[in-house]
Symmetry: C2
Subunit: 247 residues, 2 copies
């Protein structure tokens, strides 16, 4: 009888070409599947709660895997996986769950953090972990823009096309939290679901507002007329962190 | 007339084979000297306040350089250097100083931080930036050990031999500050000077005490009988950060 193992996974996105398995690419999913194969001798599929692009980090990605063998305890898997995985990916927690749990389909929401480094110089240890914006930002304008995203909207204007367009582009953002600690600005989005590149497109718009290059009214317009055309600004992948998946 | 430029430099030690210039090696000093040469056409020597080993990070290393040309302002140098340098090294501040200033000889002291990650699993984004100690640490024992280092002592037992031994191994530690924030333990040493590998040897001893493998009395013994032999524990380079140089 197969048993379903739930994993909480963290990774340094700069070391991978994204989450999703791809032939001859170094992805987090491939990396985990190889480790499972080496330990248990089984070719398994690791199902993540969602994909992350190359460069995007995770502090609490969630995944599940069905194991035919029963050799190890959950803690045994945690230790065996971390012993084999490269230091850029770690299994933080592991538990056996019922088959009614599905990492992607059971997810009720996600929390993403975006980090902007607002200072003339980016410290070396922040490289690859924040978007460096050297010009001064108007935080009040950014805060005004942030509030426009909260609630249920058609986010089509804040989604990139990944092959085929999403049919339903309505999503709910429960809250957005902005914090500034010296040069480091963090924006945390808690939502019931996110379209492809949605966080990076929201942050791109917000930073353009904070730079005085766009009015927050423009955000409002794009949320109310989602099919209208207009310039889109994608914040770079390296500032984005998947914090946790809510179930 | 040559002008002396003082630099405050930060770097990600994982990207370099240490500070000190070496033939065919990727060191911070070589990297800076190449940038000066490209910008001003001059072969200059960058004098650092002190060397750091491969893997050791700096948030505020200090250096000076004598420039024959007078083309750029201090701010011009800062911008030109950062435009050319790799993101793993940044010039944070730049100013012209009198020739009586010498990065190494004028230094009155230094502050080092050492980071220990005390938890079963090391988060991917902490890799290369902390010493991962998976076994539990007794912080009270570590605190007791820390206090023994404060003051003026012969630190010969806490120094590695770099070619020729130091003739004077007396140094003064002004203060040691221990902070614990969840899994992250930081130990900050403020001293008038440090022998080669001294911080890493002190931290190695402290962590061995906190693991219950050594008594703090042993630290006391080594400070009072510095020539006695005994096992030495060097904490890994990646947990060490040069915070600032005092003048």
């Amino acid at each position: 009888m197969a048993r379903r193992l739930k994993l909480i996974v963290a990774y340094d996105g700069s070391q991978f070409e994204g989450w999703q398995s791809q032939a001859h690419r170094n992805t987090v999913q491939d990396c985990l599947e190889r480790a499972f194969h080496k330990i248990g001798g089984e070719r398994v599929r690791v199902h993540g709660a969602g994909r992350t692009d190359a460069g995007v980090h995770a502090l609490g990605q969630c995944a599940h895997v069905d194991l035919a063998g029963n050799r190890l305890s959950a803690d045994g898997w945690l230790k065996a996986l971390n012993a084999l995985l490269p230091p850029a990916v770690r299994v933080l927690r592991c538990s056996f769950v019922s088959e009614s749990f599905h990492a992607r389909l059971s997810a009720k929401g996600k929390v993403y953090r975006y980090r902007v480094w607002s200072a003339p110089v980016l410290p070396p240890l922040e490289y690859g972990r924040a978007w460096h914006v050297a010009s001064p930002l108007n935080i009040a304008t950014l805060q005004a823009g942030v509030q426009l995203f909260v609630g249920t909207h058609d986010f089509a204007a804040f989604a990139a096309n990944r092959g085929q367009p999403d049919t339903n582009t309505r999503r709910t953002i429960n809250s957005v939290r902005v914090q500034r600690r010296e040069a480091c600005l963090t924006i945390e989005f808690d939502g019931d679901g996110f379209l492809y590149r949605m966080v990076r497109l929201m942050v791109g718009a917000l930073v353009h507002c904070a730079l005085g290059r766009m009015s927050p009214d423009e955000i409002h317009k794009r949320l109310t007329s989602p099919q209208a055309n207009g310039p889109r600004h994608v914040a770079p992948a390296e500032g984005l962190f998947l914090l946790r998946v809510r179930y």
